[in-house]
């Protein structure tokens, strides 16, 4: 019965060791505090138990002592806080060149799509020792993407992207849980993360897909007629999308924002909310017309035309001076 009785979770990501170290530190600190208090309580309780004729000795209190046990815990707490904040910042800052996986959660399944186009359900294959960034959204209620072996958890919200990342360090199969209660089959919304050696992973990846996600996005972009306005020159009614992603964009009301995944997403679904300076709010909303997966594909496409810039060959204009000034002005998905 006791052959399957773990007391410590697998440690299979670059963050796991950092979290465990902090956890062990906290166990030691709180263990010491517990020991101190328990020893004192037990010792006092035994040593000063009621004896006839031995009255209690009255002690009003001691301000130096009070200050001591206020300040010392506070100091310890600050150490914990800073250490844990450093770990948290690492968890929340995806490395720049991470492989991207789009995650769509719904009651009660995980739909995952690699940037290269492979689709999976409740299972995610990733290579060992490579940064993987998850761009996640939900079709219905709040879910939470939780991989205990990676010490990684992030709620997945409807209506926006949340982002998480990990770098698996040990091949194997690990649990994937939904950690935010999401309805009847919440406990059935589980899956696994399969971490593979790079060679195996390449083999798995070559197992056929409909082409990269950005290509799917490009197709949707064309089908929806986006290109009529978002032309690769400055003549379009909408901003040129070349090189936009990841760059600051000036809005009509003067604000500067960064064109991240959430911004591109919002511009597709609620185009009126953040208009790029110099453009008119003429774009219709695509809310309800495109699925979450299609939005993901469009986002991947917008990203791809930024990363490869003019090299996509789609746009000669990007090399022209106006194209550059159009970019400098800040362009946006209209």
């Amino acid at each position: 019965m006791f052959d399957n009785f773990p007391l410590w979770p697998d440690r299979a990501s670059s963050m796991a060791g950092k979290v465990d170290a902090l956890y062990i530190f906290l166990i030691i600190v709180s263990g010491m505090m517990t020991l101190l208090i328990f020893t004192a309580v037990v010792y006092f309780a035994a040593r000063y138990r009621y004896r006839k004729g031995v009255p209690a000795e009255q002690i009003e209190g001691s301000t130096p002592l009070e200050l001591t046990w206020t300040v010392i815990p506070m100091g310890v707490f600050m150490v914990i806080f800073i250490w844990s904040a450093v770990v948290y910042f690492k968890m929340r800052t995806p490395p720049r060149d991470a492989t991207e996986v789009y995650v769509v959660a719904k009651q009660w399944m995980w739909k995952l799509e690699h940037a290269e186009g492979q689709r999976e359900i409740n299972e995610l294959h990733v290579p060992v020792d490579r940064d993987v960034k998850l761009i996640m959204t939900s079709q219905d209620v709040i879910h939470s993407f939780y991989v205990p072996a990676f010490r990684m958890k992030q709620d997945v919200l409807p209506g926006r992207y949340t982002v998480a990342w990990f770098r698996a360090t040990k091949p194997g199969t690990y649990h994937l849980f939904c950690a935010e209660y999401c309805g009847t089959q919440h406990s059935g919304m589980i899956g696994s993360i399969v971490v593979m050696e790079p060679a195996q992973f390449e083999a798995w990846m070559s197992g056929g897909s409909g082409g990269p996600l950005s290509a799917t996005g490009e197709k949707i972009f064309a089908e929806l007629g986006c290109a009529t306005c978002h032309r690769a020159d400055t003549q379009g009614r909408g901003p040129n999308l070349q090189g936009v992603f990841g760059k600051p964009v000036q809005l009509e009301d003067g604000r500067m924002i960064t064109a991240d995944e959430n911004y591109v997403r919002e511009s597709i679904l609620d185009p009126g909310s953040k208009i790029v300076k110099g453009f008119k709010p003429v774009m219709p909303t695509f809310q309800g017309l495109v699925s979450e997966e299609q939005v993901n594909a469009l986002v991947a496409y917008v990203k791809s035309v930024s990363q490869s810039g003019a090299a996509t060959g789609k746009s000669a204009a990007a090399t022209e001076p106006e194209g550059v000034s159009g970019k400098a002005q800040g362009s946006k998905v209209q």
């Binding site: 929340r92 924002i257 960064t258 959430n262």
Partner: protein, 101 residues
């Protein structure tokens, strides 16, 4: 027994009451007029400053917070507002910084 409260009102407070009333009406008119001016981002600030002034007038004079014999009532008001502002400020802080991450 009830002397302090009656002595408090022994000098006729009517002048104060009518003055406050007039000030409140004036404040309402000012709020409306100010909203018609283009003050840019200061429109909301002006509106809130006038509203707070009016609320203070009501609280201090109509609700007799000013004449209250003890600091206790003022403490109640101040601490309630403290927690209210806390709720708004900390929640807004999340919204204000969310898009930078």
């Amino acid at each position: 027994m009830s002397t302090h409260s009656t002595s408090e009102h022994s000098k006729s407070p009517l002048t104060t009451y009518f003055a406050v009333w007039a000030a409140l009406l004036l404040g309402t008119w000012l709020t409306y007029q100010a909203s018609l001016l283009d003050l840019g981002r200061y429109n909301s600030a002006v509106a809130l400053i006038i509203a707070t002034t009016k609320a203070l007038l009501v609280a201090l004079f109509f609700m007799h917070l000013k004449g209250a014999s003890e600091k206790l009532l003022k403490l109640v008001v101040v601490s309630t507002l403290f927690f209210l502002i806390l709720l708004m400020a900390l929640a807004m802080f999340d919204y204000g910084t969310r898009w930078f991450s």
